[in-house]
């Protein structure tokens, strides 16, 4: 088809790149022309991503052999996309970066959270933060997209309507993320070795998580947000629980109204409001492979505390799917293309 977009995925042996590849192979308007990996150069894709066995004949190329394309999807370690920007931008008119390099608009904030100056601060304003729910208009027609952080996306989508609608009685917002092992990438480590990682409840980032910067940038009101991240026994999935204190007088109905208004027409956000049964709260368990973000809340009328719960698959709505949804918007395509999977129960 003449309208198909030729895509090269740079760093496709990792989990984020592999997930974008899986989605792209099922997308009617995307044509994956090349996938790169240094470590697995020349090997067939299915040796690394066995789910793609029989679905593609692609083999990994070394980065040195990268060809021109309509779009480069960059799934590289942090700092690679920014330091190699000129080379990449000459290969394709469109860049979709899945790293953290272009998420923050403020170079000083980047330096504070990443511990060194940004390699190319002048580029920051050229990328759109690829959160479709918050920046749909800015994404239309955009050529440079900065994929959002997985934990940040779960927290931002969960808190956005509440903070847009109400001013917390007390500013400090506590955000706890529980997260699966795939978020740490595919490189074997001591901490990720199965006998050590299986069954943990390990708070690997009690304070100082880098995604705090994205929350501060994207959430209305710029309230102090405090993020804590705990690794749990899952491969995929994030549940964020956030604690916000509302002033007196807010009701369940008020809060629900804020979420309904904000997300009424969103194809990938589902409000969980069931009062019966065993599925009354968002749970990443049922979201593996889907682009949904399920959101629910509970209000304690005595204290005014709202507990917001937000669940997603870190590799789909947290990374590759969220980015593909943004790409669909930027291209003027139907927003849900390639993202139709409903997920499994049980």
């Amino acid at each position: 088809m003449s309208e198909r977009l030729n895509v090269a995925i740079v760093g496709a042996s990792g989990y984020a790149g592999g997930e974008f590849l899986r989605l792209a192979l099922g997308h009617p308007y995307l044509n994956v022309t090349q996938v790169t990996s240094e470590r697995f150069a020349k090997q067939p894709v299915h040796l690394v991503h066995p789910n793609l066995r029989g679905a593609t004949r692609l083999r990994f190329s070394p980065l040195a052999e990268l060809q021109e394309a309509d779009l480069l999807v960059l799934a590289l370690p942090h700092k690679e996309s920014s330091t190699r920007f000129d080379a990449f931008s000459q290969k394709a008119p469109r860049l979709l970066d899945l790293s953290a390099d272009f998420r923050l608009k403020d170079a000083r904030t980047y330096e504070r959270f990443y511990g060194e100056p940004h390699p190319r601060p002048e580029l920051l304003e050229r990328f759109v933060y690829a959160n479709p729910e918050l920046h749909r208009d800015a994404l239309r027609g955009a050529h440079y997209l900065a994929g959002a952080g997985c934990l940040a996306t779960a927290a931002i989508l969960g808190l956005y309507p509440l903070l847009k609608y109400a001013v917390p009685a007390r500013g400090d917002i506590i955000v706890e993320g529980k997260i699966g092992s795939s978020a740490a990438g595919n490189r074997p480590t001591d901490a990720g070795h199965h006998p050590e990682r299986a069954g943990v409840v390990r708070t690997y980032a009690p304070t100082g998580h880098r995604h705090e910067a994205e929350l501060m940038q994207e959430l209305p009101g710029r309230f102090p947000v405090h993020l804590t991240a705990t690794a749990i026994e899952r491969v995929r999935g994030i549940l964020v629980t956030a604690h916000v204190f509302l002033p007196d007088g807010y009701s369940d109905r008020d809060v629900l109204g804020a979420y309904r208004e904000a997300y009424e027409d969103e194809p990938f956000i589902r409000l969980v409001t069931a009062k019966r049964g065993i599925h009354r709260v968002p749970d990443p368990k049922i979201l593996d492979g889907t682009n949904f973000c399920d959101i629910g809340f509970a209000l304690d009328n005595d204290s005014g505390r709202v507990v917001v719960m937000s669940a997603l698959d870190n590799l789909v709505k947290g990374t590759a799917g969220h980015a593909l949804q943004a790409l669909n918007i930027s291209m003027g395509w139907p927003e849900t293309l390639g993202l139709e999977f409903l997920g499994l129960h049980p």
Copy 2:
């Protein structure tokens, strides 16, 4: 669309019925008109199957309110389909039964394995055993389909080419199935209670598994097959390992040739032949939600023992997907319709 088939799923609150519903909602030619459940009558489907939140507005009806349809999918406890056959056959010209009621052709075998006479033995010959790989021709145009057993399907697909091609040196074939908890259904039990079931390696059926009867019926040569089933820590998935002793002189190449010949054109069978990497054998882990059956083997040249490994998702290729594939064939539709999901890694 005039060509859409109106489908009612009887017993849709269970895992098999729920899985068929999930697949049917994504199928271009199926229109689910009704779903029944006694226990959850009048409740919205998504309270039971949270993955379908937002995907359908259907509510469960009691069986007493079952309407006419083009097709009834029967996902009921064993014996329900056969004892209620007359009522069901009056509601629809097509029946797809997911229970064990119509799998066996021989009423005496049924009685031996199920411990009582078949309620309607005269019906057995009217149902086609819905294994597309073995009975594709018989399925074309069939109106009554008997869904196969999940463990039986994994074993049959794994052993069929080998036994069709070679006569074992020694007749007795050992088949071991490792299986997830969803195969036991959605009714809470002591054995299925999470603290008791989590992390088990529990050989719940060392001998006398009912699916042995399907193996004996379907496999070439009618060799004695001995089935052992062990519950492991997964929700979905089956791995079957089968041990066959070949006469002297058979090579890897001979065995591979048999599988290639048998399954060359099969859309849902993938031979796993990788010699490198960490994905060299079939593993149900990467098959959740897919209709694939991955098959591999290893030959011990000293002893002539072939170990056949066969993996699938018990609810899809083991039940609902396998049955939908058979339905597609019976209707003359493209065989892969509604079964395109590739599965996830990691």
Copy 3:
């Protein structure tokens, strides 16, 4: 041995009672004379608790056959201990209750959190809240012990030194518990059915958890504490993360000093202060079967937020072991008797 205490465990087929039985069988001064269960009356203990296979010849008796003993350990559903108090107190001079019936000192607080008046409010003052670290002196010689709540104990032990030592800059304290499936008991339920429970990250109590009452009662300063509980994929184990904002000027060293001072001589509390390796934070994973409570913290100097992490096994330090430690104190025995298991790695 003349000095051995004859113990009857009432409700010994449940997880709490079974765990106390396991510990009692290894205790040099305890002699288990009887175990009761209605559901499993007359059956050998090992049919219900297979870990005790070969360790005891005890069979369950119905409650109606309860004999006199030196000590009754009550592991019954809530309200059973208080409504049957007179009968139990006539059977033995010592009662160790593992339910919530006698934990709260204030009958109004009980009514607020449990939704009905306390059946025997006049008894509340006669029981000592069995937290050895906070109430060691009161436990000495006590005859009526009220076992503490598992989640409450993790939170209380984690927060006690900090709140005793410092006045939070802002009163509201957020406490999040992540908890395994055994805490919900051994009765099969829809929510606890393995296919539904496996792999969840399910915030079953975002607000209104009953253990909040114990925190308010036991923690210094009576600051408002807000508890949220999330079910995760473990059978045993709790991790509590608590968020406290300290006034300006507190250092890591100050906080560590508070914990050292409070717990210096505690045999079952371990401060986790490692700065290297992969085991730098408390993790319930390595505590299965042990009576340890591992505690660590992280201080964000910018915001003054301290994140306290506290881990334990809900059935041991959270229930039966914590209670046995209290019993050892009440009897004047060495505090660690029967609680020596170090736990496993990996």
Copy 4:
């Protein structure tokens, strides 16, 4: 204490060495004087084995600093013990080797299964194969002990009574092992990385497993035994299922008699014969941390097939505990010293 044995554990940062250390710290007659590790030299033991936090002040030494002791426990990669034998034997009069170096009596068999000549074949006869149930007499007073393979021990203990008692109708015996991730050691690998390893049912050794050699050596009758090993979702634990065809006329009672006769007085073997409840078969789930081997069987009267099930913890009864039991025998100490842990339920 004069009678305490000074023990140095060589290679104590691994799982086998760490487990022996855990057991030794609770053993009344063992005094651990030194633990070695190259990778973690100078670091405190609890940074690697967090379960030992507070239980020991030991730090790892490099091998070069190994001191003399009464006993060296060698927990090194294969071939290290045999190539360094002279150095080790000069440091201590007693050696307990946990590797495979001295398990096989026949150097040709070693060469066949390990692919190269044994470095010190003349030493093989000087080591006793440390299986207490089979070689108790030979172990008394022995100074050189060869720890058995974990999978081999599960299979040997399961099959020994049956093969001692009956001659199989057909020689070939199929043995399937299901095994947890700790058996692969503590070195991070692609295959062991949590996102890849979690939830697998991966038959990593369909044929050619090295432990086959131990089975052939130790089992009565020298029947051909065929071993297949599958990795499952556990950290610890092995379940072996073995399939033996008996001649006509054998009854359940005959088989049970054989096991009773063989294991009547064994402190660590438990026959699982329950006909009721949910714990009717051996399951490694309840054996974590224990030295028990639970054994059960099922006989199919039609075919004469006996399915033997044998479960243990690969690091305890499969490695360190089994070896400690042998050491107790060799020293003339009570056989169960340091091995009293009963295990957990749930």
